[in-house]
Amino acid sequence: MPDPVVHVAELTKIYKVPEREAGLRQAAKALFRRKTRDVRAVETISFDVGAGEVVGFLGPNGAGKTTSLKMLAGLLYPTSGTALVLGHVPSKRERDYLRQMTMVMGNRNQLQWDIPALDSYELNRAIYRLRREDYVAMRDELIELLDVGDLVRKPVRNLSLGERMKVEIVGALLHRPQVLFLDEPTIGLDVTMQKRIRTFIAEYNQRQGATVLLTSHYMADVEALCERVIVIHHGRILFDGALASLADEFAAYKTIGVVLQNGGAPLDGYGEVVHHQGDRVSLRVPKAETSRVAARLLADHEVLDLTIEEPPIEDVIESVFTQPAAL
């Protein structure tokens, strides 16, 4: 088995946050001796990512997703533990490493605001020391893939949020990075634009064989792109595996949908009625009892239709995140 592209072992980040107390005397004291409090943003997380994998980081706000990505991108120095990307220690910020990775932050803008993106791209060419022919080939390919031929000629400040993200992504990929860290790349975009970005990321991953780590609030992003997800909560990894098995592991309930001949019959005795419209009734049933309840329904009533469904992935995630910190 080849070496992993990203290797993380026991990685921990603890922030020291100054504690401020009210009062003039306290403020004056704080000038000399600062009281601090530890915030454990990421605690002893470990995982490996192989070449070409697309991995989604899931977690509520403040779970430690962005902190993890920033440590991998060399923007944050870990408190302890190991992080290796492409064999480099990110926090050393070696040129050789920086040339092979990129990070896109959904709410940040890295292009020059007042000039067309095309001119900013030229800057990146020089910064990354690209040969002109490589640069032009890559630029034109990306522009075509994202269909931004017109947009790159307008000053960035005149672009809409979604358009800006597209030209931003082109700029971030000109040096053909092998590792992509995408922090909320679709935040604030409308559904069509989210879809467009998603397709593009998949396409880039296919074409370049690049490794992608992404965080997103939108489950749709993760469902479309990531076969593997890492769920982080309170700085710890709760789950690392295939998206499909996430439901198996965490969902406590399944949903049984039935259509009865006698639509009016009360079904409260079988499970929690979550939905009742006309003849169609949805019941929430503990996972272990699903088959027993289904059998009872079939025996007791004249059933026209019966389905057993996994709960939607959002609900599963939500149930994971409502778990308390100490696990």
Binding site: K70, L76, L86, Q112, R125, I127, Y128, R129, R131
Partner: protein, 280 residues
Amino acid sequence: MSVDVARLPEAGRWRSLFDFYVTTMRTAIASQLQYRVTNYFYMLGMIAEPVVYLVVWTTIADQEGGSVNGITSGEFAAYYIVWTLVRNMNIVFGAPFWEYRIREGRLAGDLLKPMYILHYDLAYFAGWKFVVVAMWLPIAFGLSAVFHPTLDPTALEIVVFIFAIWGAYLVRSMFQGTIGMLNFWTTRGAAVFDLYIAVEMLLSGRLVPLQLMPGWVQTLANFLPFKWTFGFPIESLVGNLSTEQLLLGLCAQALWIGIGLVLFKIAWSSAIKRFVSVGN
């Protein structure tokens, strides 16, 4: 550990750096040309300062029979008009810009790229100078028409002046950049910056030509960086410095650029350590 990835070949280092400077400067010119009004505001506000000094000293010179400490009204006019150009060259990526860069979260983006931070700022502001100087020309003509400067530089003085204003730009870039690193530790560095500017005012020839200062101040100024960012470039064109003094001045600038660069590098490396451990 070996990872097999397709890596793009690199273009030459110096070629790329040159390329970067040219492209950034072009970018700066293109962006700043869009902001002529705001650039003029800045410049007019800045011009007020030397005009006030000029008027005051001209008044005194006239009162005192034509000159103060041997400087005539015309020479004062020349000094402060050249001052305006030097001041324009002296605007660098300093403390307020560092504050902006950190506050707006722009630093992370710059850190992700394989380029030393100083290059961005030197290149961008160098490009901006071309816009500023173009906009300065009509102001200079206007001031000359009103205040009648006495100015007859030699060819050597002009050449030295051209080097000296860029030298001043670099010296001030290094020191202001170093001071700017304070922003990584505190959001209330303003008083320190003000103190720096005040010392610079007095010891650089920005407030008054150093000739008007007491002797010990003049001596002190020779051994500090400030003079080489204002007084020296101005006097290289306006004053009567000998060839030796002119060349010595350029050497002093080179020395201070070197010292400033070392200071900047030390400050930057501890600033970056702080940045990556605190995160922003």
